[in-house]
C-alpha cells in the first residue's frame, strides 16, 4: 500500500516532468491563450512607446501586430510587456513573453548560449555616439577620456569597450538600467557622450531632449562603430512559430516590393500577377504550408501595412525621427532588405 502510493506519486511527478519537457509548442499555447505576448523596449520613440491611452506604437510594435495578424487574423490580439535590456532574455527564456521585439541585436552568443532563435532582420542598425554640440567634438576618435552613458547588458556596452581598446583610448562608463535614467544622466551633463544604436540616438535626440535645449543642441557623430542587425527573437524549440515570425517580416517586405500597401491591397486581390496572387492567398497553399490562414499576408498588409509604410510611419519621414532609410531600403533600391520569396 505504502509502496504503491509512493510509486503512484513518483509516476505522477514523472508524468508532470515529462509533460513540461514536451512543452515546446509555443504556437499551440499562443493559440489556446488567444493572444500573443510581446516583449518590447520600455520606451524608444519610433520603435516602441505607449501613448496616454496606453496604446503601443512603433516599428517593434508593428512586428508583433503583424505576427498577431498572421496567426489570429487580427493585429490587436497582442499583450505588450515592456522589458529593460537586462530583463529581456530571461523573460523570453522563462516563457514570460512569446516573442522579443526589443531592438535586440542578433549575435552568435545570443543565438546559441542563450537558447534563442533570431528570425528575419527588421532593422539594420549600427552603434553611434550622441554628444552636446557645445563640446565641439567632430569625431568619435576625439573621445579619449570621456565619460560615456550606456545601458547594461547590451552589445552596445561591449562594442564601446572594444572600440576604445582598439583605438587606445580610455573612458569612464556610467551604467544605468532604465533607459529613461540614462538619458536623464546624459542630459544633466553627468556624461559627455550617450551611446546606443544610432536609431535610438535619433529617437532620443528627436523626442527626449529636455527644454529649453533643443534637438539642434546635440549632434550624432559620424562614426558607426558596429553592425547591429536588429531582429525579433523567439525561444529555441518551436520551429513552426519561428517560421511564422520570420515569414511575417518577409511578407511585409514582399508586399512592399510588389507594390501591395494597406491602401491598394483590396484592388490587388483582383491582380493577374501570379506572384501577387500567391502572396495574397488568391492562389491558395502558402498560408497552409506555414500553418496559418491563406489570407495571412492580406491580413498583415491590410491591418499593419507593408514594411515601407511601417518604416515611414514610425521612424521615417512621416515621423518626428526623420531617419533616412539608408541600409533599410529594399534591395531593388540599393538597400539590404531582401526577402526570401513567398512561393
Amino acid at each position: 500500500m505504502h509502496k504503491a502510493s509512493v510509486a503512484a506519486a513518483v509516476g505522477a511527478v514523472a508524468l508532470f516532468a515529462s509533460g513540461s519537457a514536451w512543452a515546446g509548442k509555443d504556437l499551440d499555447s499562443i493559440k489556446a491563450r488567444g493572444n500573443l505576448i510581446c516583449g518590447v523596449p520600455t520606451g524608444i520613440a519610433g520603435f516602441a512607446s505607449a501613448d496616454s491611452q496606453g496604446k503601443w506604437t512603433g516599428l517593434d510594435v508593428d512586428v508583433c501586430r503583424a505576427v498577431s495578424a498572421a496567426i489570429f487574423g487580427d493585429s490587436e490580439k497582442v499583450k505588450y510587456v515592456p522589458l529593460t535590456s537586462q530583463q529581456r532574455f530571461t523573460a523570453l527564456q522563462s516563457g514570460e513573453v512569446d516573442i522579443l521585439s526589443n531592438n535586440t541585436t542578433a549575435t552568435l552568443q545570443r543565438d546559441t548560449a542563450l537558447g534563442l532563435d533570431f528570425t528575419a532582420i527588421t532593422y539594420y542598425d549600427g552603434q553611434g555616439f550622441l554628444v552636446p554640440k557645445k563640446l565641439g567634438v567632430k569625431s568619435a576618435k576625439e573621445l579619449n577620456g570621456a565619460t560615456v552613458c550606456v545601458a547594461p547588458g547590451t552589445t552596445t556596452e561591449l562594442n564601446l569597450a572594444d572600440y576604445f581598446r582598439a583605438n587606445k583610448m580610455t573612458f569612464k562608463p556610467v551604467v544605468i538600467e532604465k533607459v529613461e535614467e540614462i538619458r536623464a544622466a546624459f542630459f544633466s551633463g553627468r556624461c559627455d557622450v550617450y551611446t546606443t544604436d544610432s536609431s535610438g540616438l535619433y529617437a532620443t535626440r528627436a523626442a527626449n531632449v529636455p527644454a529649453p535645449a533643443t534637438a539642434d543642441d546635440y549632434v550624432v557623430l559620424p562614426e558607426i562603430i558596429s553592425k547591429e542587425p536588429l531582429a525579433p527573437a523567439v525561444r529555441h524549440g518551436d520551429q513552426q512559430f519561428a517560421d511564422i515570425v520570420r515569414w511575417t517580416q518577409y511578407a511585409m517586405l514582399e508586399a512592399e516590393e510588389y507594390g501591395i500597401s494597406s491602401k491598394t491591397v483590396d484592388d490587388m486581390l483582383k491582380s493577374d500577377n501570379p506572384t501577387i496572387k500567391r502572396i495574397l492567398g488568391v492562389t491558395p497553399g502558402m498560408g497552409k504550408a506555414l500553418g496559418v490562414e491563406d489570407k495571412w499576408v492580406y491580413n498583415i498588409v491590410k491591418q499593419v501595412g507593408n514594411y515601407g509604410e511601417s518604416f515611414e510611419r514610425n521612424v521615417g519621414m512621416g515621423s518626428v525621427l526623420k531617419i533616412d532609410r539608408g541600409l533599410n531600403k529594399l534591395w531593388t533600391q540599393g538597400g539590404l532588405q531582401y526577402a526570401e520569396p513567398i512561393r
Binding site: 545570443r110 572594444d162 556610467v174
Partner: protein, 395 residues
C-alpha cells in the same frame, strides 16, 4: 483486551503504527524524503529544460573575457579581464559602500538617538524630525533624490567649483589630490597598524592602572597620538617625500588625483541617512530602557551629563542595543543592492551584466545569493561574538 489495556502500559504491546517514537521517525523521514525529492525534481527538471533549449550551463564562463568596462574599481580592472574579476570588482564595491555605511550610520545614529533625549527642546525636536523624515520615505526615493541633486545641481567639469586649485567639485564627483605613489607608503601602512596595536595595549594598561590606583590615564589621546604619530615618523625618516598627484582638467574630465564619484556619494548618503534614523531609535530605546536610578546615581556622584552618558548609560544600553543593531547592519548590506537604480557598479550590477552577456541566470543568481549570505552571516557572527563579550556576567 480491556484487561490488557487497564494493566500497566507495556511498550512491547503497542502496535508499531501507534508507537509515538516510531511514528515520529516515520513522519520525519517522509518529510525529509519529500523535500529531497522536490529538490531533486527541481534540479533535474531545470537541467533538462536548459539542455533542451540549448542554454549553456556550468561555471566555465567565469574564466572568459568580460569585455565590459566598470566605472569605479578598487583594484585594477580592464575589459580584457575575466568575468570572475568583474564580479570581484563588484563585490569589493559592495563591501566598500556597506562597510563605510555601517560605520557612518552607527556614529550618526547614536548622535541623533542621544540628541533626541536632550533636555534642549530645539535639539530634541530637530532629531525627532530627522528620524521621522528619513524613516518614513522609501530608501529608493532618497537615492534618486540625492543622485539627481548631485548630477543636476553641480556644474559640469569645465565649470567645476574650484577650491585652491586642489579640490574640484562637479557633476563628475569630487576630485582631490593624493600623494603620488612612493615606496614609503607600505611602511607607513605598517606603522599605522603598529600604532593601532599600541593604542589597544595602552588603553588596557590605562584601565588596569585606574582599577589599581584610581588614577585615570588619557588613553584616548595617547592612543590617537600613537596612531597618527608613527606613520608620520616613518614618513619623516623616509625623507618626507611630498610629490602629490594633482587633479587637472584634460579634455573631457579631470586627470590625476582621485575622485569620489556621484553614484557612490549618493548611495552612501542614502544608506547612512536612512539607516541612521532606525539606529537612532534603537539607541534611544536602549537608553530609555535603563532604570532611571542609573542617571540619578550618576548625577549624585557629580558626573556631568556627558560623562554620565559615556561612562554609565551608554555602556549599559549597549547590551540592549547590539542585537537589534545587527539587523540594521544586515539591512545596510542588503540595501546597497539598490545601487543598480543609480548606476553604482556593485555586485548585483556586475552579475546582472554577466547574466545578460552569458545568459546563465541560475549560476549567476546563485553567486549573488552566496555572496550576500556569506557577508550577512559574517556580520551576524561578529555581532553575536561582540554581544556575548559585553553581556552582563552574572556570578
Amino acid at each position: 483486551m480491556a484487561v490488557e489495556s487497564i494493566g500497566s502500559p507495556q511498550h512491547a504491546k503497542i502496535a508499531p503504527w501507534n508507537d509515538p517514537v516510531i511514528r515520529g521517525w516515520v513522519f520525519q523521514a517522509v518529510v525529509v524524503g519529500l523535500v529531497g525529492f522536490l529538490a531533486w525534481f527541481l534540479v533535474t527538471n531545470t537541467v533538462e529544460n536548459l539542455a533542451r533549449q540549448k542554454i549553456a550551463s556550468g561555471y566555465a564562463y567565469l574564466s572568459h573575457e568580460a569585455g565590459f568596462e566598470i566605472g569605479d574599481s578598487m583594484i585594477s580592472y580592464s575589459p580584457a579581464n575575466t568575468y570572475a574579476r568583474a564580479i570581484l570588482v563588484g563585490m569589493l564595491n559592495t563591501l566598500k559602500v556597506a562597510g563605510l555605511g555601517i560605520i557612518f550610520a552607527t556614529i550618526l545614529g547614536t548622535l541623533i538617538g542621544v540628541g533626541r533625549l536632550s533636555p534642549n527642546w530645539l535639539l530634541a525636536k530637530i532629531c525627532e524630525g530627522y528620524v521621522e523624515a528619513f524613516r518614513n520615505v522609501p530608501l529608493l526615493l532618497w537615492l534618486f533624490l540625492f543622485y539627481k541633486m548631485i548630477s543636476e545641481a553641480f556644474p559640469g567639469p569645465r565649470q567645476a567649483l574650484n577650491v585652491l586649485n586642489a579640490l574640484f567639485l562637479s557633476n563628475r564627483g569630487l576630485y582631490f589630490p593624493v600623494p603620488a605613489a612612493d615606496p614609503i607608503h607600505p611602511w607607513m601602512g605598517l606603522g599605522l597598524l603598529a600604532g593601532i596595536a599600541g593604542a589597544v595595549v595602552l588603553h588596557r594598561w590605562g584601565k588596569q592602572r585606574q582599577a589599581a590606583t584610581g588614577k585615570p590615564f588619557p588613553s584616548i589621546w595617547a592612543g590617537a597620538a600613537l596612531i597618527v604619530g608613527l606613520p608620520i615618523l616613518i614618513w619623516l625618516a623616509g625623507g618626507a617625500p611630498h610629490h602629490m598627484s594633482w587633479p587637472e582638467l584634460k579634455g573631457f574630465n579631470f586627470v590625476g588625483g582621485t575622485v569620489i564619484q556621484p553614484e557612490f556619494t549618493a548611495l552612501l548618503l542614502g544608506l547612512v541617512l536612512y539607516t541612521s534614523a532606525f539606529i537612532a531609535e534603537i539607541v534611544r530605546s536602549g537608553i530609555l530602557a535603563l532604570n532611571k536610578g542609573q542617571s540619578e546615581a550618576a548625577a549624585a556622584l557629580g558626573l556631568s551629563r556627558a560623562q554620565a552618558m559615556r561612562l554609565v548609560l551608554l555602556p549599559q544600553a549597549l547590551r540592549l542595543i547590539v542585537p537589534p543593531m545587527t539587523s540594521q547592519y544586515l539591512n545596510i548590506t542588503k540595501n546597497s543592492s539598490l545601487a543598480i537604480a543609480i548606476g553604482y557598479p556593485d555586485l548585483v550590477a556586475s552579475v546582472n551584466v554577466t547574466i545578460n552577456q552569458t545568459g546563465q541566470a541560475i549560476e549567476n543568481v546563485l553567486i549573488i545569493m552566496v555572496a550576500y549570505l556569506s557577508v550577512s552571516l559574517s556580520i551576524s557572527a561578529f555581532m553575536n561574538w561582540y554581544n556575548k563579550r559585553i553581556a552582563l556576567r552574572e556570578r
